[in-house]
Symmetry: C2
Subunit: 246 residues, 2 copies
Amino acid sequence: MLGARSDPVIRHPVVVVTALVFDVQGTATDFHSTVRRAAETIAGSRGRGQDWSAFVNDWRRAYFEETSRTVGQGPWVSVATVYRRTLDPLLQARGIDLATAEREELARAWARLDPWPDTVAGLRRLRGKFTLATLSNADVSAVVSISRHGDLPWHAIFAAEMVGAFKPDPRTYGLAARYLGLEPAEIMMVASHKYDIRAAKQLGFATAFVARPLEYGDPALGDAEFSDEFDINAVDFLDLADQLGC
Amino acid sequence: MLGARSDPVIRHPVVVVTALVFDVQGTATDFHSTVRRAAETIAGSRGRGQDWSAFVNDWRRAYFEETSRTVGQGPWVSVATVYRRTLDPLLQARGIDLATAEREELARAWARLDPWPDTVAGLRRLRGKFTLATLSNADVSAVVSISRHGDLPWHAIFAAEMVGAFKPDPRTYGLAARYLGLEPAEIMMVASHKYDIRAAKQLGFATAFVARPLEYGDPALGDAEFSDEFDINAVDFLDLADQLGC
Protein backbone atom coordinates (compact mmCIF):
# COMPACT_ATOMS: atom_id res chain seq x y z
CA MET A 1 0.00 0.00 0.00
CA LEU A 2 2.97 2.32 0.32
CA GLY A 3 4.11 2.32 -3.28
CA ALA A 4 0.71 3.08 -4.77
CA ARG A 5 1.38 6.76 -5.42
CA SER A 6 4.51 8.75 -5.98
CA ASP A 7 3.64 11.50 -3.49
CA PRO A 8 1.09 10.47 -0.88
CA VAL A 9 0.52 14.08 0.25
CA ILE A 10 -1.19 14.89 -3.02
CA ARG A 11 -4.68 13.46 -2.90
CA HIS A 12 -6.00 14.98 -6.07
CA PRO A 13 -4.31 17.14 -8.71
CA VAL A 14 -5.43 20.33 -6.90
CA VAL A 15 -5.96 19.20 -3.28
CA VAL A 16 -2.89 19.06 -1.06
CA VAL A 17 -2.85 18.06 2.58
CA THR A 18 -1.57 20.96 4.71
CA ALA A 19 -2.57 19.82 8.20
CA LEU A 20 -2.25 16.59 10.19
CA VAL A 21 -4.66 15.85 13.01
CA PHE A 22 -3.67 13.22 15.58
CA ASP A 23 -5.34 10.89 17.98
CA VAL A 24 -3.51 11.13 21.33
CA GLN A 25 -4.36 8.20 23.65
CA GLY A 26 -2.73 5.19 22.01
CA THR A 27 -1.49 6.84 18.79
CA ALA A 28 0.82 9.55 20.17
CA THR A 29 1.17 8.19 23.70
CA ASP A 30 1.71 4.81 25.34
CA PHE A 31 -1.11 4.75 27.87
CA HIS A 32 -0.59 1.06 28.64
CA SER A 33 2.96 1.34 30.01
CA THR A 34 2.27 4.66 31.71
CA VAL A 35 -0.85 3.60 33.60
CA ARG A 36 0.51 0.13 34.42
CA ARG A 37 3.63 1.67 35.99
CA ALA A 38 1.52 4.16 37.95
CA ALA A 39 -0.72 1.36 39.26
CA GLU A 40 2.26 -0.79 40.25
CA THR A 41 3.91 2.13 42.05
CA ILE A 42 0.78 3.27 43.88
CA ALA A 43 -0.37 -0.22 44.92
CA GLY A 44 3.11 -1.31 45.98
CA SER A 45 2.98 -4.53 48.01
CA ARG A 46 -0.85 -4.49 47.92
CA GLY A 47 -0.64 -5.27 44.20
CA ARG A 48 1.57 -8.33 44.45
CA GLY A 49 0.46 -11.04 42.03
CA GLN A 50 -1.90 -8.75 40.15
CA ASP A 51 -1.94 -8.81 36.34
CA TRP A 52 -1.61 -5.04 35.95
CA SER A 53 -1.52 -5.29 32.18
CA ALA A 54 -4.97 -6.87 32.16
CA PHE A 55 -6.10 -4.30 34.72
CA VAL A 56 -5.13 -1.39 32.41
CA ASN A 57 -6.84 -3.03 29.44
CA ASP A 58 -10.01 -3.61 31.46
CA TRP A 59 -9.94 0.01 32.57
CA ARG A 60 -9.46 1.24 29.02
CA ARG A 61 -12.32 -1.01 27.85
CA ALA A 62 -14.62 0.36 30.57
CA TYR A 63 -13.70 3.91 29.48
CA PHE A 64 -14.35 3.05 25.85
CA GLU A 65 -17.72 1.47 26.58
CA GLU A 66 -18.82 4.42 28.67
CA THR A 67 -17.75 7.07 26.16
CA SER A 68 -19.32 5.08 23.29
CA ARG A 69 -22.57 4.88 25.24
CA THR A 70 -22.70 8.62 25.91
CA VAL A 71 -22.31 9.70 22.26
CA GLY A 72 -25.06 12.17 21.55
CA GLN A 73 -26.85 11.49 24.83
CA GLY A 74 -27.25 13.83 27.75
CA PRO A 75 -24.78 16.40 29.04
CA TRP A 76 -21.06 16.26 28.37
CA VAL A 77 -19.10 14.02 30.75
CA SER A 78 -15.39 14.68 31.20
CA VAL A 79 -13.04 11.83 30.44
CA ALA A 80 -11.33 12.41 33.78
CA THR A 81 -14.67 11.67 35.44
CA VAL A 82 -15.13 8.51 33.35
CA TYR A 83 -11.71 7.16 34.28
CA ARG A 84 -12.26 7.99 37.94
CA ARG A 85 -15.68 6.38 38.26
CA THR A 86 -14.81 3.25 36.28
CA LEU A 87 -11.81 2.63 38.56
CA ASP A 88 -13.63 1.69 41.76
CA PRO A 89 -15.47 -1.42 40.46
CA LEU A 90 -12.26 -2.64 38.78
CA LEU A 91 -10.31 -2.38 42.03
CA GLN A 92 -13.11 -4.00 43.99
CA ALA A 93 -13.35 -6.95 41.57
CA ARG A 94 -9.64 -7.59 42.12
CA GLY A 95 -9.69 -7.02 45.85
CA ILE A 96 -7.19 -4.16 45.63
CA ASP A 97 -7.64 -1.68 48.47
CA LEU A 98 -6.48 1.85 47.64
CA ALA A 99 -7.23 5.01 49.59
CA THR A 100 -9.29 7.75 47.92
CA ALA A 101 -6.24 9.95 47.39
CA GLU A 102 -4.41 7.01 45.79
CA ARG A 103 -7.34 6.32 43.45
CA GLU A 104 -7.38 9.96 42.41
CA GLU A 105 -3.64 9.90 41.80
CA LEU A 106 -3.99 6.73 39.72
CA ALA A 107 -6.82 8.22 37.62
CA ARG A 108 -4.66 11.30 37.00
CA ALA A 109 -2.06 9.07 35.29
CA TRP A 110 -4.27 9.34 32.17
CA ALA A 111 -3.36 13.05 32.05
CA ARG A 112 0.40 12.33 32.22
CA LEU A 113 0.80 9.73 29.47
CA ASP A 114 4.31 9.19 28.13
CA PRO A 115 4.81 9.61 24.37
CA TRP A 116 5.98 6.64 22.30
CA PRO A 117 9.77 6.80 21.70
CA ASP A 118 9.29 8.07 18.10
CA THR A 119 6.53 10.61 18.82
CA VAL A 120 8.44 13.80 19.62
CA ALA A 121 11.12 13.30 16.96
CA GLY A 122 8.47 12.51 14.35
CA LEU A 123 6.30 15.50 15.22
CA ARG A 124 9.32 17.82 15.14
CA ARG A 125 10.08 16.71 11.58
CA LEU A 126 6.44 16.99 10.47
CA ARG A 127 5.98 20.40 12.12
CA GLY A 128 7.98 22.32 9.54
CA LYS A 129 5.78 21.26 6.64
CA PHE A 130 2.35 20.73 8.21
CA THR A 131 0.06 22.29 10.77
CA LEU A 132 -0.14 19.73 13.58
CA ALA A 133 -3.16 19.45 15.86
CA THR A 134 -4.65 16.91 18.20
CA LEU A 135 -8.16 15.52 17.87
CA SER A 136 -8.62 13.60 21.08
CA ASN A 137 -11.51 12.20 23.06
CA ALA A 138 -9.58 13.12 26.21
CA ASP A 139 -10.53 16.37 27.96
CA VAL A 140 -8.83 19.54 26.72
CA SER A 141 -7.10 19.91 30.10
CA ALA A 142 -5.83 16.32 29.87
CA VAL A 143 -4.48 16.84 26.34
CA VAL A 144 -2.77 20.07 27.47
CA SER A 145 -1.29 18.20 30.45
CA ILE A 146 -0.16 15.22 28.33
CA SER A 147 1.35 17.56 25.72
CA ARG A 148 3.23 19.57 28.32
CA HIS A 149 4.39 16.39 30.11
CA GLY A 150 5.75 14.89 26.87
CA ASP A 151 6.80 18.17 25.20
CA LEU A 152 4.60 17.39 22.18
CA PRO A 153 4.97 20.23 19.68
CA TRP A 154 1.39 20.67 18.44
CA HIS A 155 0.32 23.92 16.83
CA ALA A 156 -3.16 23.50 18.30
CA ILE A 157 -5.14 21.27 20.61
CA PHE A 158 -8.61 20.20 19.53
CA ALA A 159 -10.65 17.79 21.57
CA ALA A 160 -14.06 16.14 21.58
CA GLU A 161 -14.96 18.27 24.60
CA MET A 162 -14.99 21.35 22.33
CA VAL A 163 -17.97 20.01 20.41
CA GLY A 164 -19.58 17.91 23.16
CA ALA A 165 -19.38 14.59 21.30
CA PHE A 166 -16.79 11.81 21.17
CA LYS A 167 -15.06 10.40 18.10
CA PRO A 168 -16.19 8.79 15.84
CA ASP A 169 -19.09 11.30 15.88
CA PRO A 170 -18.76 13.30 12.62
CA ARG A 171 -19.02 16.57 14.57
CA THR A 172 -15.60 15.99 16.07
CA TYR A 173 -13.86 15.83 12.68
CA GLY A 174 -15.97 18.75 11.46
CA LEU A 175 -14.71 20.78 14.41
CA ALA A 176 -11.09 20.22 13.37
CA ALA A 177 -11.83 21.28 9.78
CA ARG A 178 -13.70 24.40 10.88
CA TYR A 179 -11.05 25.46 13.41
CA LEU A 180 -8.26 24.89 10.88
CA GLY A 181 -10.19 26.78 8.19
CA LEU A 182 -9.58 23.87 5.79
CA GLU A 183 -11.57 21.44 3.70
CA PRO A 184 -11.53 17.79 4.91
CA ALA A 185 -9.42 16.75 1.88
CA GLU A 186 -6.70 19.18 3.03
CA ILE A 187 -6.43 17.40 6.40
CA MET A 188 -4.96 13.98 7.19
CA MET A 189 -6.31 12.17 10.26
CA VAL A 190 -3.59 10.09 11.92
CA ALA A 191 -4.51 7.29 14.31
CA SER A 192 -3.67 3.76 15.39
CA HIS A 193 -7.41 2.98 15.61
CA LYS A 194 -9.09 2.06 12.36
CA TYR A 195 -12.59 3.11 13.53
CA ASP A 196 -11.22 6.63 13.99
CA ILE A 197 -9.61 7.07 10.57
CA ARG A 198 -12.44 5.23 8.83
CA ALA A 199 -14.89 7.80 10.24
CA ALA A 200 -12.64 10.62 9.05
CA LYS A 201 -12.25 9.03 5.61
CA GLN A 202 -16.03 8.86 5.23
CA LEU A 203 -16.09 12.65 5.64
CA GLY A 204 -13.43 13.16 2.99
CA PHE A 205 -10.33 13.42 5.15
CA ALA A 206 -7.02 11.92 4.07
CA THR A 207 -5.97 9.10 6.40
CA ALA A 208 -2.80 7.69 7.94
CA PHE A 209 -2.76 4.49 9.96
CA VAL A 210 0.11 4.22 12.44
CA ALA A 211 0.65 0.72 13.79
CA ARG A 212 1.00 0.57 17.59
CA PRO A 213 1.28 -3.18 18.24
CA LEU A 214 2.06 -2.61 21.93
CA GLU A 215 -0.94 -0.34 22.59
CA TYR A 216 -2.46 -3.03 24.85
CA GLY A 217 0.86 -4.41 26.05
CA ASP A 218 0.48 -7.63 24.03
CA PRO A 219 0.53 -7.51 20.20
CA ALA A 220 -2.13 -10.23 20.13
CA LEU A 221 -4.65 -7.81 21.67
CA GLY A 222 -4.28 -4.97 19.16
CA ASP A 223 -4.86 -4.51 15.43
CA ALA A 224 -1.64 -3.33 13.84
CA GLU A 225 -2.32 -4.71 10.35
CA PHE A 226 -1.74 -2.29 7.49
CA SER A 227 -4.68 -1.80 5.15
CA ASP A 228 -4.93 -0.51 1.58
CA GLU A 229 -8.00 1.55 2.46
CA PHE A 230 -5.78 4.23 4.05
CA ASP A 231 -3.63 6.74 2.16
CA ILE A 232 -0.65 5.96 4.35
CA ASN A 233 0.29 3.02 6.56
CA ALA A 234 3.24 3.69 8.84
CA VAL A 235 5.13 1.78 11.53
CA ASP A 236 5.63 4.95 13.62
CA PHE A 237 5.78 8.76 13.41
CA LEU A 238 9.30 8.70 11.91
CA ASP A 239 8.06 6.46 9.10
CA LEU A 240 5.09 8.82 8.68
CA ALA A 241 7.51 11.76 8.35
CA ASP A 242 9.57 9.80 5.81
CA GLN A 243 6.53 9.00 3.72
CA LEU A 244 5.34 12.62 3.84
CA GLY A 245 8.75 13.87 2.68
CA CYS A 246 9.71 15.55 5.95
CA MET B 1 3.61 48.61 41.42
CA LEU B 2 6.34 46.06 40.90
CA GLY B 3 7.76 46.01 44.39
CA ALA B 4 4.42 45.47 46.14
CA ARG B 5 4.93 41.76 46.72
CA SER B 6 8.02 39.61 46.97
CA ASP B 7 6.80 36.97 44.52
CA PRO B 8 4.11 38.16 42.14
CA VAL B 9 3.24 34.60 41.07
CA ILE B 10 1.81 33.90 44.50
CA ARG B 11 -1.60 35.51 44.68
CA HIS B 12 -2.67 34.07 47.98
CA PRO B 13 -0.87 31.80 50.45
CA VAL B 14 -2.37 28.71 48.79
CA VAL B 15 -3.17 29.87 45.24
CA VAL B 16 -0.33 29.83 42.72
CA VAL B 17 -0.59 30.85 39.08
CA THR B 18 0.29 27.87 36.85
CA ALA B 19 -0.98 29.09 33.46
CA LEU B 20 -0.66 32.30 31.45
CA VAL B 21 -3.29 33.20 28.89
CA PHE B 22 -2.37 35.77 26.23
CA ASP B 23 -4.12 38.23 23.99
CA VAL B 24 -2.67 37.88 20.48
CA GLN B 25 -3.56 40.85 18.24
CA GLY B 26 -1.56 43.75 19.73
CA THR B 27 -0.12 42.02 22.79
CA ALA B 28 1.86 39.16 21.20
CA THR B 29 1.94 40.51 17.64
CA ASP B 30 2.53 43.85 15.94
CA PHE B 31 -0.52 44.13 13.71
CA HIS B 32 0.16 47.76 12.89
CA SER B 33 3.51 47.27 11.16
CA THR B 34 2.45 44.00 9.56
CA VAL B 35 -0.76 45.27 8.00
CA ARG B 36 0.73 48.66 7.04
CA ARG B 37 3.55 46.93 5.16
CA ALA B 38 1.10 44.57 3.43
CA ALA B 39 -1.06 47.53 2.34
CA GLU B 40 1.94 49.50 1.04
CA THR B 41 3.20 46.48 -0.90
CA ILE B 42 -0.15 45.54 -2.41
CA ALA B 43 -1.17 49.11 -3.34
CA GLY B 44 2.25 49.99 -4.74
CA SER B 45 2.14 53.21 -6.75
CA ARG B 46 -1.64 53.43 -6.28
CA GLY B 47 -1.01 54.15 -2.62
CA ARG B 48 1.34 57.08 -3.06
CA GLY B 49 0.66 59.85 -0.57
CA GLN B 50 -1.64 57.69 1.56
CA ASP B 51 -1.31 57.73 5.35
CA TRP B 52 -1.18 53.96 5.71
CA SER B 53 -0.69 54.18 9.44
CA ALA B 54 -4.02 55.99 9.81
CA PHE B 55 -5.57 53.50 7.39
CA VAL B 56 -4.56 50.53 9.59
CA ASN B 57 -5.84 52.26 12.72
CA ASP B 58 -9.17 53.07 11.03
CA TRP B 59 -9.43 49.44 9.92
CA ARG B 60 -8.69 48.16 13.42
CA ARG B 61 -11.27 50.59 14.86
CA ALA B 62 -13.91 49.38 12.37
CA TYR B 63 -13.12 45.79 13.38
CA PHE B 64 -13.34 46.67 17.05
CA GLU B 65 -16.66 48.48 16.65
CA GLU B 66 -18.15 45.61 14.70
CA THR B 67 -17.02 42.88 17.10
CA SER B 68 -18.15 44.96 20.09
CA ARG B 69 -21.57 45.38 18.50
CA THR B 70 -22.01 41.67 17.86
CA VAL B 71 -21.31 40.56 21.44
CA GLY B 72 -24.12 38.25 22.45
CA GLN B 73 -26.20 39.05 19.37
CA GLY B 74 -27.06 36.75 16.51
CA PRO B 75 -24.90 34.03 14.97
CA TRP B 76 -21.13 33.95 15.24
CA VAL B 77 -19.28 36.07 12.68
CA SER B 78 -15.69 35.16 11.86
CA VAL B 79 -13.10 37.84 12.37
CA ALA B 80 -11.76 37.17 8.86
CA THR B 81 -15.20 38.14 7.56
CA VAL B 82 -15.24 41.29 9.68
CA TYR B 83 -11.83 42.44 8.39
CA ARG B 84 -12.80 41.67 4.83
CA ARG B 85 -16.12 43.50 4.83
CA THR B 86 -14.86 46.57 6.72
CA LEU B 87 -12.07 46.98 4.17
CA ASP B 88 -14.13 48.06 1.14
CA PRO B 89 -15.62 51.26 2.62
CA LEU B 90 -12.18 52.26 3.97
CA LEU B 91 -10.59 51.90 0.54
CA GLN B 92 -13.47 53.70 -1.13
CA ALA B 93 -13.29 56.64 1.27
CA ARG B 94 -9.61 57.05 0.38
CA GLY B 95 -10.06 56.51 -3.33
CA ILE B 96 -7.76 53.49 -3.37
CA ASP B 97 -8.64 51.05 -6.14
CA LEU B 98 -7.65 47.45 -5.43
CA ALA B 99 -8.80 44.34 -7.29
CA THR B 100 -10.85 41.75 -5.42
CA ALA B 101 -7.90 39.34 -5.16
CA GLU B 102 -5.75 42.16 -3.76
CA ARG B 103 -8.38 43.04 -1.17
CA GLU B 104 -8.54 39.40 -0.10
CA GLU B 105 -4.77 39.20 0.13
CA LEU B 106 -4.70 42.38 2.22
CA ALA B 107 -7.41 41.08 4.59
CA ARG B 108 -5.40 37.87 5.00
CA ALA B 109 -2.50 39.90 6.44
CA TRP B 110 -4.39 39.77 9.78
CA ALA B 111 -3.72 36.00 9.80
CA ARG B 112 0.05 36.48 9.26
CA LEU B 113 0.89 39.02 11.95
CA ASP B 114 4.54 39.33 12.92
CA PRO B 115 5.39 38.84 16.61
CA TRP B 116 6.95 41.73 18.54
CA PRO B 117 10.76 41.30 18.76
CA ASP B 118 10.56 40.07 22.38
CA THR B 119 7.59 37.71 21.97
CA VAL B 120 9.19 34.40 20.97
CA ALA B 121 12.14 34.69 23.35
CA GLY B 122 9.83 35.68 26.21
CA LEU B 123 7.40 32.82 25.57
CA ARG B 124 10.26 30.32 25.36
CA ARG B 125 11.44 31.36 28.81
CA LEU B 126 7.92 31.31 30.28
CA ARG B 127 7.06 27.94 28.71
CA GLY B 128 9.20 25.89 31.08
CA LYS B 129 7.37 27.10 34.17
CA PHE B 130 3.83 27.84 32.97
CA THR B 131 1.21 26.44 30.64
CA LEU B 132 0.90 29.05 27.86
CA ALA B 133 -2.32 29.52 25.91
CA THR B 134 -3.86 32.17 23.72
CA LEU B 135 -7.22 33.79 24.40
CA SER B 136 -7.87 35.74 21.25
CA ASN B 137 -10.85 37.33 19.57
CA ALA B 138 -9.32 36.30 16.23
CA ASP B 139 -10.65 33.12 14.61
CA VAL B 140 -9.05 29.85 15.68
CA SER B 141 -7.69 29.37 12.15
CA ALA B 142 -6.17 32.88 12.23
CA VAL B 143 -4.51 32.25 15.61
CA VAL B 144 -3.15 28.93 14.32
CA SER B 145 -1.84 30.71 11.21
CA ILE B 146 -0.31 33.59 13.20
CA SER B 147 1.29 31.15 15.63
CA ARG B 148 2.77 29.03 12.86
CA HIS B 149 3.95 32.13 10.97
CA GLY B 150 5.72 33.53 14.05
CA ASP B 151 6.70 30.18 15.61
CA LEU B 152 4.88 31.08 18.84
CA PRO B 153 5.31 28.21 21.29
CA TRP B 154 1.85 28.02 22.90
CA HIS B 155 0.73 24.83 24.60
CA ALA B 156 -2.83 25.49 23.49
CA ILE B 157 -4.89 27.86 21.39
CA PHE B 158 -8.14 29.14 22.81
CA ALA B 159 -10.22 31.71 20.98
CA ALA B 160 -13.50 33.56 21.31
CA GLU B 161 -14.85 31.51 18.40
CA MET B 162 -14.84 28.43 20.67
CA VAL B 163 -17.52 29.97 22.87
CA GLY B 164 -19.25 32.17 20.29
CA ALA B 165 -18.64 35.45 22.12
CA PHE B 166 -15.87 38.07 21.98
CA LYS B 167 -13.74 39.33 24.85
CA PRO B 168 -14.54 41.01 27.21
CA ASP B 169 -17.58 38.72 27.46
CA PRO B 170 -17.08 36.68 30.69
CA ARG B 171 -17.75 33.44 28.80
CA THR B 172 -14.45 33.79 26.94
CA TYR B 173 -12.38 33.84 30.14
CA GLY B 174 -14.54 31.06 31.57
CA LEU B 175 -13.73 28.96 28.53
CA ALA B 176 -9.99 29.26 29.19
CA ALA B 177 -10.42 28.24 32.84
CA ARG B 178 -12.60 25.26 31.94
CA TYR B 179 -10.30 24.05 29.17
CA LEU B 180 -7.23 24.41 31.39
CA GLY B 181 -9.01 22.65 34.26
CA LEU B 182 -7.97 25.49 36.59
CA GLU B 183 -9.56 28.05 38.86
CA PRO B 184 -9.43 31.68 37.64
CA ALA B 185 -6.96 32.58 40.44
CA GLU B 186 -4.53 29.98 39.03
CA ILE B 187 -4.47 31.75 35.64
CA MET B 188 -2.87 35.06 34.70
CA MET B 189 -4.41 36.98 31.78
CA VAL B 190 -1.72 38.87 29.84
CA ALA B 191 -2.70 41.75 27.55
CA SER B 192 -1.74 45.22 26.38
CA HIS B 193 -5.42 46.22 26.54
CA LYS B 194 -6.71 47.25 29.95
CA TYR B 195 -10.36 46.45 29.14
CA ASP B 196 -9.27 42.85 28.55
CA ILE B 197 -7.36 42.27 31.78
CA ARG B 198 -9.89 44.30 33.81
CA ALA B 199 -12.63 41.91 32.64
CA ALA B 200 -10.45 38.92 33.61
CA LYS B 201 -9.62 40.48 36.98
CA GLN B 202 -13.33 40.89 37.75
CA LEU B 203 -13.68 37.12 37.35
CA GLY B 204 -10.80 36.42 39.73
CA PHE B 205 -7.95 35.97 37.25
CA ALA B 206 -4.47 37.24 38.01
CA THR B 207 -3.45 40.01 35.58
CA ALA B 208 -0.38 41.20 33.72
CA PHE B 209 -0.34 44.40 31.69
CA VAL B 210 2.29 44.47 28.94
CA ALA B 211 2.92 47.95 27.53
CA ARG B 212 2.88 48.09 23.72
CA PRO B 213 3.36 51.82 23.04
CA LEU B 214 3.71 51.21 19.30
CA GLU B 215 0.52 49.15 18.95
CA TYR B 216 -1.03 51.94 16.84
CA GLY B 217 2.24 53.11 15.31
CA ASP B 218 2.28 56.34 17.35
CA PRO B 219 2.72 56.18 21.16
CA ALA B 220 0.26 59.09 21.50
CA LEU B 221 -2.55 56.84 20.22
CA GLY B 222 -2.12 53.97 22.68
CA ASP B 223 -2.35 53.53 26.45
CA ALA B 224 0.93 52.13 27.71
CA GLU B 225 0.68 53.54 31.24
CA PHE B 226 1.39 51.08 34.04
CA SER B 227 -1.34 50.78 36.65
CA ASP B 228 -1.34 49.51 40.24
CA GLU B 229 -4.60 47.66 39.66
CA PHE B 230 -2.74 44.83 37.88
CA ASP B 231 -0.58 42.18 39.54
CA ILE B 232 2.22 42.79 37.07
CA ASN B 233 3.14 45.65 34.76
CA ALA B 234 5.80 44.79 32.20
CA VAL B 235 7.52 46.57 29.33
CA ASP B 236 7.60 43.40 27.21
CA PHE B 237 7.52 39.59 27.44
CA LEU B 238 11.16 39.40 28.56
CA ASP B 239 10.36 41.70 31.46
CA LEU B 240 7.31 39.54 32.18
CA ALA B 241 9.54 36.45 32.26
CA ASP B 242 11.98 38.28 34.60
CA GLN B 243 9.20 39.27 36.99
CA LEU B 244 7.78 35.73 36.98
CA GLY B 245 11.18 34.26 37.80
CA CYS B 246 11.71 32.52 34.45
